[in-house]
């Protein structure tokens, strides 16, 4: 009942006039995004989160080896994230090493940046695959409906809520028979372990959209099913997909960190935030910073992604507020 009220009041993807030509639809679509942008900008927490998120990405991309920051880097060796220098092990915080160094004397400022590249890249790659699978599976189930939909959703129900870590670990083991876990096997493992939610979201959206008048009108004038799907349904799921990026990202980044932290993820000496934290675990009683700094980086990224997702949700699709 409450849901019904919200659905009729929803401002998204349901233009009341359906007789306008296709060119008009394009204009309306862009104004939807402009509206959303204006709403997003007004949300201060979301804007701050977005700025911090971008700053983290810039830091990760810019620091390792791209240019010398005056006063901080004195030689190339300092910004090589894998350069071992035992005389510098656990050097403490200083201008040379703003984030201190680890056991092997590797500069953590550079290493956290490189690790961030891997963590964020895995995050976005897995999120992208999750969304692709989600769109295919969800739109298939939602669009065809009937028995197929029922069966596919029962299958999802069966998989839903299974402990994802064992399955992710087994998948990485399958994909890396010689024991060294690669970037792509992590991406695939995390995707397999967490594609269910996005499939559900897409299916729900498609089913709601299918009942809209403009879809009926398109059917009435004889549009083929692929045209309805490609022209009318999928573009209108874009909003929830944009939100879903930032809903899935934290889970994937945390999943990568968990796997790497227990030593079953990215292999050393390749850095990821999880594997740096794992390096820090052996001496955290004396040098907690080696563990705390990458953990804080993960926490900040996850926090930002959560705020961005909240902001996008308020801006794009107020209905789904309670599903997070």
């Amino acid at each position: 009942m409450a849901v019904d009220r919200r659905e009729t009041a929803m401002p998204v993807a349901a233009p009341s006039t359906t007789t306008e030509p296709a060119a008009g639809a394009a204009i309306r679509q862009s104004s939807l995004w402009q509206d959303a942008w204006r709403r997003y900008i007004r949300n201060r927490a979301a804007v701050a989160a977005g700025i911090i998120f971008i700053l983290i990405c810039i830091y990760c991309l810019a620091i390792p080896g791209f240019w010398k920051i005056p006063g901080i880097w004195t030689s190339y060796k300092d910004y090589d994230p894998n350069a071992v220098d035992f005389s510098q092990s656990y050097a403490g915080f200083s201008l040379d090493h703003p984030f201190s160094t680890d056991k092997f004397g590797r500069d953590l400022f550079a290493r956290v940046a490189v690790g961030g590249q891997i963590s964020i890249a895995i995050g976005f790659a897995a999120t992208f695959m999750i969304l692709v699978i989600g769109v295919v599976y969800g739109s298939l189930a939602g669009f065809i409906g009937g028995k197929l939909d029922n069966g596919m959703m029962r299958f999802l129900d069966a998989l839903y809520g299974l402990p994802y870590l064992p399955f992710a670990i087994i998948t990485t083991q399958i994909l890396s028979p010689n024991g060294s876990v690669s970037f792509w096997s992590m991406v695939v493992a995390l995707t397999i372990a967490s594609w269910f939610t996005s499939a559900r979201i897409v299916r729900g959206q498609i089913i709601t959209l299918k009942e809209n008048d403009y879809v009926r009108a398109a059917k009435a004038v004889g549009a083929r099913w692929y045209r309805i799907l490609a022209r009318h349904l999928l573009p209108n799921t874009l909003g929830v997909l944009v939100i879903a990026i930032f809903l899935e990202l934290p889970g994937v980044v945390l999943g990568e960190a968990f796997l790497s932290f227990i030593g079953l993820g990215i292999n050393p000496p390749t850095a990821s935030w999880g594997s740096i934290a794992q390096d820090g675990r052996e001496a955290y009683r004396l040098h907690p910073e080696v563990l705390f700094i990458p953990s804080l980086a993960i926490a900040t990224l996850v926090l930002c992604a959560n705020f961005i997702a909240d902001g996008l949700r308020d801006a794009l699709d107020p209905r789904t507020r309670e599903t997070g």
Binding site: F167, G263, A277
Partner: protein
């Protein structure tokens, strides 16, 4: 109601079979014969005997049937790296400890998370509300290994009030070693519950029947206690099953950090030792637990909200 429960119980059987099947296929994919990659060559005759003993000479679907039969008779097979122990022994040893850790973490979540969310919802946009939601947001974002090491570093090491690791042996044995691990594991569900209960209470309080209850002059306590709280607990009950999955995932990390000999730690060690019968056994076990928990949650949901019975 009876048909609903029966239909729901019968439905779990194919789900369990499917999950066992998936685990089985994944294990086949990992491949490797536990007897073949040893240093010495196993003579063909012995190899054939071993294959026959473990049904490896049969086609995969027959092996699957054997495995399902074993699982349903609670026999998870021998461990490959620990020759004297079976997977059952390992589960018997580790599972009670993990179970206790999980229950305690869940208790933290219920005892702190639900009241926090409820109080925040009763005074929306107050300072308490903001603090509760800030706490919940932080609890959402911090990785559990970070929480655990923070607690060890600042609580156990700096104050020395509690030990940094270890776990009481018996299931009903409690001492100060249980506090930190269960809190570290319970922080995420706590934050989750707080947020969920707050949202659902705010929504319930706008319902017509709450307004009616207020209008007919029921005292505030009675409105909240009888009408709002009971109805806003339903999402919390539904969220229990996915949370259980997260708690089980969390035990893997918490057990390693606090050196608790539970199944999570055995699982990770077995992956390192490529002891795949243990890996498979623990995966199947945890999955079946989640499926059964889902079953209970659905039945509870049917009891709490009769409308859901007809839909299914």
């Amino acid at each position: 109601m009876a048909t609903f429960i029966i239909r729901r119980v019968v439905w779990t059987i194919p789900v369990i079979l499917l999950v066992i099947f998936m685990t089985f296929i994944m294990m086949k994919q990992i491949g490797g014969n536990p007897f073949r990659h040893t240093e010495r060559n196993v003579p063909p005759a012995i190899q054939a005997n071993l294959d026959r003993k473990f049904h490896l000479d049969k086609p995969w679907y027959t092996q699957y049937v054997y495995y399902v039969k074993d699982v349903f008779t609670f026999d998870l097979g021998p461990s490959m790296s620990q020759r004297t122990r079976t997977v059952n022994d390992i589960v018997k040893d580790g599972f009670p400890k993990s179970l206790k850790l999980g229950i305690l973490a869940f208790l933290w979540a219920v005892v702190i998370g639900i009241p926090l969310g409820a109080l925040a919802a009763l005074k929306p946009n107050s300072i308490f509300d903001y603090m509760a939601m800030f706490f919940s947001t932080i609890g959402f974002a911090l990785p559990s290994f970070f929480v655990a090491t923070l607690l060890i570093y600042y609580v156990a090491l700096k104050t020395g009030l509690v030990p940094t690791n270890g776990w009481p042996e018996g299931f009903f044995q409690f001492d100060n070693r249980i506090i930190l691990p269960s809190f570290a594991l319970g922080l995420f569900p706590m934050a989750y519950f707080a947020r969920l209960v707050r949202g659902s209470m705010l929504e319930t309080m706008q319902q017509d029947y709450v307004r009616t209850a207020k209008a007919k002059g029921l005292p505030y306590k009675r409105v909240v206690g009888l009408h709002v709280l009971r109805n806003s607990m339903i999402p919390a009950v539904t969220a229990t099953a996915p949370l259980l999955g997260l708690i089980i995932t969390g035990t893997f990390i918490i057990e390693i950090i606090f050196s608790i000999p539970g199944i999570g730690r055995y699982f990770v060690n077995s992956v390192f030792n490529r002891d795949f019968s243990v890996v498979m056994g623990i995966t199947v076990l945890t999955s079946v637990i989640i499926i059964i928990a889902n079953l209970f949650v659905d039945i509870m949901y049917g009891v709490l909200d009769p409308r859901t019975r007809e839909v299914r």
